[in-house]
Each structure stands twice: as C-alpha cells, then as structure tokens.
Assembly symmetry: C2
Homo-oligomer: 154 residues x 2
C-alpha cells in the first residue's frame, strides 16, 4: 500500500487502541517527507474539532509558521468531513489522498454524510437551529476591514 | 442590539485592529453567561483553522472539559463557513445566532460561499484534487473499532 497512507493508518490504529477518539488518522507530506501526523483526539482532548486532519494541519502550520500549506499533500484514512474539508481549503492544500468514504464513516456511526447533505440543502439538521440578528452592525466591521488599505488578506 | 452579539462584535473589532486575521468574532453562552470568546487569528497564530467560532468552541470545550456543548449557544458575527458549521455540529451546539451572511463574507473576499457550493456539488474547487487509495486497508481499522464493545462513541 501507499507508504504515507500506511503511516496515517498507524496513527488511526494508535488513537483507536488508546481510545483517544474515532478510528481516523492523517499525515501531511512536504517534499516527500512527513512533516506532521495526527489522529482523532476528540475524546482524550475534549475538543470536538480534534479530527485527525485538523490535528495534522495545525501541527504542520505550527511547524512551518504559516497558514498556507499549498506545497503540502494530505493523506487521510477517511474522506474528510465538511469541517476538515473546509480546513483543507483554507490551508490551500492542493491534493488530498483518502482511504474510506463518507458513507463508510456513516456506517460506523459518524455523521459526515448527514452534514454534507445538510450543507447541500438536501437534509435538515434536527440538532441545530440557525437564526440571524444584527446584520447591519456586523457589516460595519466588514466595511472597516475593506477600508483598511494595509489589511493582510488570506 | 443583542448584548451577546455586541461582545462578539467587540472581539471582531479587536482582531481586526490588531491585524490578527479576518473581521470575525464569536462568543459562547451557557446559562446566560459568556464562557468563551474568540476572534479570527488565522494570521497571528499561523493556523488556518483559527476562525472565531473554532477558537471559541475550543476554549469552551477546554473550560468545560468536554466536547459536548449541547447546553451552549454560539453567537457569531458572520454565518459560519462549512468548517465552522461542521465544528458546531460535532460540538452538538443546538442554537447559532449569526450576523452577516456567507454572501456578505464573499463580498469582502472570503471563500465561504464557494466552499458551500463545492460541498453541494454545484461548483468545482480548482484549488483542490481529491483521490482515493487503500480503502480496504482503512476499512480494517473501522472493523476493529466496531468490534470493540468498550468503544466510546461521540
């Protein structure tokens, strides 16, 4: 099998056997070298965002001291959930290699597919209500941002 | 305006003026009290996941020492991007109050809407390629997870 995926799988197995979270692992590769690895730590770290991909992205960004990982490849043992997909996009990672699918994840009890369907407008999320308030006040901050000629965009 | 949104806006303004990241802020409220606040720190922390909502969720989870925030409300100055939406779902937050919309965010140069459209299958993400590899090996770890009768699900 792919040697980078093998390391991501080792991460998944480690986390699973230590009961740190779901059975997922990820590594980030730059110039052929693994620079960061992660496994799901939602349970052990009490952090709902501690998916394998997020853990690996945060570690790689911390190591490189930049949020832009456009020269990196992410290997993950499962298709990223929408949270992780968003993080991959924001990190500008150009290539993701994944193992199991979002449907495989749903079959072992993880909501990935439901979140995808909700975001696509094809399902309702009974768990969550979204309401809008004070849009005009919030837009004022956007205006101040746009008026700042020295702003750093990302 | 809503007093909790006012604090979220103060966070957004603080981050904007300190140039820590995009003009976004969030707070988490439990039993009528603000227990965590956050603003976008993508630039200052070199962390592509450091959106206001993620910063606030991680702070609240760390404070409460649990990933389950189902007794909390999130106030955010802008409709959550898919990454933050996913985090909100995983944290089981039942109510989100937001100010500006994903379209407002796009208008000041943030990709929220593009990511939504891509996840819905209505747009292509020219920045990212996804490929599958070694699904069978990855499914073995899922099987081990399901066979573990003492597993903690989340």
């Amino acid at each position: 099998m792919d040697p980078y995926m093998k390391v991501a799988l080792d991460e998944a197995l480690y986390g699973l056997r230590k009961k740190e979270g779901g059975p997922f692992g990820a590594v980030i590769v730059k110039d052929g070298e693994i620079i960061a690895r992660g496994h799901n730590q939602v349970i052990s770290s009490h952090d709902p965002t501690a998916h394998a991909e997020i853990v690996a992205i945060r570690a790689a960004s911390s190591l490189l001291q930049r949020f832009d990982l456009s020269d990196c490849i992410l290997y993950t043992t499962c298709e990223p959930c929408p949270m992780c997909f968003g993080a991959i996009h924001w990190a500008k990672i150009p290539l993701v290699i994944y193992g199991a699918t979002r449907t495989d994840a749903s079959e072992i009890g993880f909501d990935d597919n439901l979140i995808y369907e909700f975001l696509a407008g094809r399902a309702t999320d009974d768990q969550l209500t979204l309401k809008q308030s004070d849009r005009d006040a919030c837009l004022q901050v956007f205006k101040e941002y746009m008026a700042d000629q020295t702003r750093v965009h990302y």
